[in-house]
Symmetry: C2
Subunit: 270 residues, 2 copies
């Protein structure tokens, strides 16, 4: 049961479609009895770059500074900067994290990528033992909710931008599933800037309806960690074998040189 929600929000303008989508999520989820917190990244002037300033006190190896290693140590010793620890506290509280943003260049806007790079700290959000289906946040849900500049047809396996499932894989698998989150299907608002006012309104009404049923949604499918050999990180032979006669690959990335499972990064149960 989702009781506490964190919305990580990246748009510069309170008059934007993204702002309307965020406001609607706050409204509908609050009406469901949820507590909703918003990290409004531009309003917070959230620092995007991963730098030594994220660590209080001296670093262990200044000559060969490794952000990954030094922030792990700083986390363990309580020496991370406050803007990071504040976001950590929000994540710990949240049952569901919604990322609301305009897609920039087939990916997250830099300010939101900065939130990922800096807040999902080594040791806090993952470890060598806790990753993927055994990840730290396996009891939490998450979802992307974003606008595109291009029409839906352009993001298809025959469209000029290619299959949206491919574009979503590095984010939904490499960031969200990696940390163990149960990843709900993305909410994609296709090119609202090109749509008529009436159609934009319809998109938001569709979002309202979805939010009302969000508690019951099943997450996207990823492969359990124990399907992989613990030493080689390759799919175990028996799992591979079980899948040998199947038409499609297991996931977009772990495709076994077969056709990609259709819509697997966009719809639950695919």
């Amino acid at each position: 049961m989702v009781k506490k929600v964190l919305i990580v929000y990246a748009h510069q303008s309170s008059g934007s479609f993204n702002a309307a989508a965020k406001d609607l999520a706050v409204e509908v989820l609050t009406a469901q009895g949820c507590t909703v917190e918003v990290s409004d990244l531009y309003a917070m002037d959230f620092k995007a770059a991963a730098t030594v300033d994220d660590i209080k006190g001296s670093v262990k190896d200044a000559d060969h500074f490794s952000y990954l290693r030094e922030t792990k140590l700083a986390f363990e010793e309580g020496r991370l900067s406050e803007d990071i620890t504040k976001e950590h506290a929000k994540i710990i509280e949240a049952d569901l994290i919604i990322f609301q943003f305009p897609m920039y260049w087939f990916g997250l806007p830099a300010i939101m990528k900065g939130w990922i790079d800096r807040v999902l700290t080594n040791g806090f959000a993952f470890s060598t033992e806790q990753l993927y289906s055994q990840g730290v946040f396996k009891d939490k849900k998450t979802m992307l909710s974003f606008t595109t500049g291009s029409l839906e047809s352009m993001f298809s396996p025959t469209g000029i931008n290619g299959d949206m499932n491919v574009t979503l894989w590095p984010i939904q698998n490499g960031i969200l599933n990696y940390c163990g989150f149960q990843v709900l299907a993305p909410q994609i608002f296709w090119a609202p800037a090109l749509a008529a006012a009436e159609d934009r309104k319809g998109m938001l009404e569709g979002w309202r309806t979805r939010l009302q049923g969000l508690q019951e949604e099943k997450p996207l499918s990823f492969i359990p960690l124990d399907s992989f050999d613990q030493k080689t990180f390759q799919l175990k032979p028996d799992v591979h074998e079980q899948h040998a006669s199947k038409e499609f690959g297991l996931t977009v990335g772990i495709h076994l040189n077969k056709p990609l499972p259709p819509h697997s990064q966009m719809k639950a149960g695919c």
Copy 2:
């Protein structure tokens, strides 16, 4: 013939493997007679977030601020901030742009994504007429050169992180190919932090050898713009038909529901 090179570089430490890879590129390309410019993003304290501060003077529609529209206008009217116009000037000069970075969370570090979001301005780097194979930078080359935290085997179609070709698609197609660049195969340094000193040295020697032959390299293959219908942005029926009997999809994203062409985002001629 590459004569002028821009290296967009994102690492915090001059003692890092990424720094060594960058320094080696400067050395080898300079020895070939190239002029090499480096944008050292952390040293420049490069602003990552796309904000209204990127525009001098007043914006056209403050209530519904659109970064895409407002920066296009500011570009046309010479009202972009100086840190952006300086990078524009470097891009105009360059025959080849190398992006040197550690992969963060299956993608670009936020500071480098910020360079993409802010510097590849609407009207400067692309337009509705100039995109993909007709893109603005079609006479320029580019390449990614990056380190990973994971071993190569983990980024395969049977490995836990999935096929690296999938992870590279949004960047190499959605950013680089979108702007028209000829995209050279990525230089991937697999997990140097896990390697012995001798092996790291070997990786750099491999990079030296590759740089010495870089002028002769052919770019990766993408689909020409005129293979798509100009109105629907769908693959033209005759192109689709020509490909009907082929085993693999055309590209990772435009896969036609077939197996992905192996290594197409990692090796030229695939």
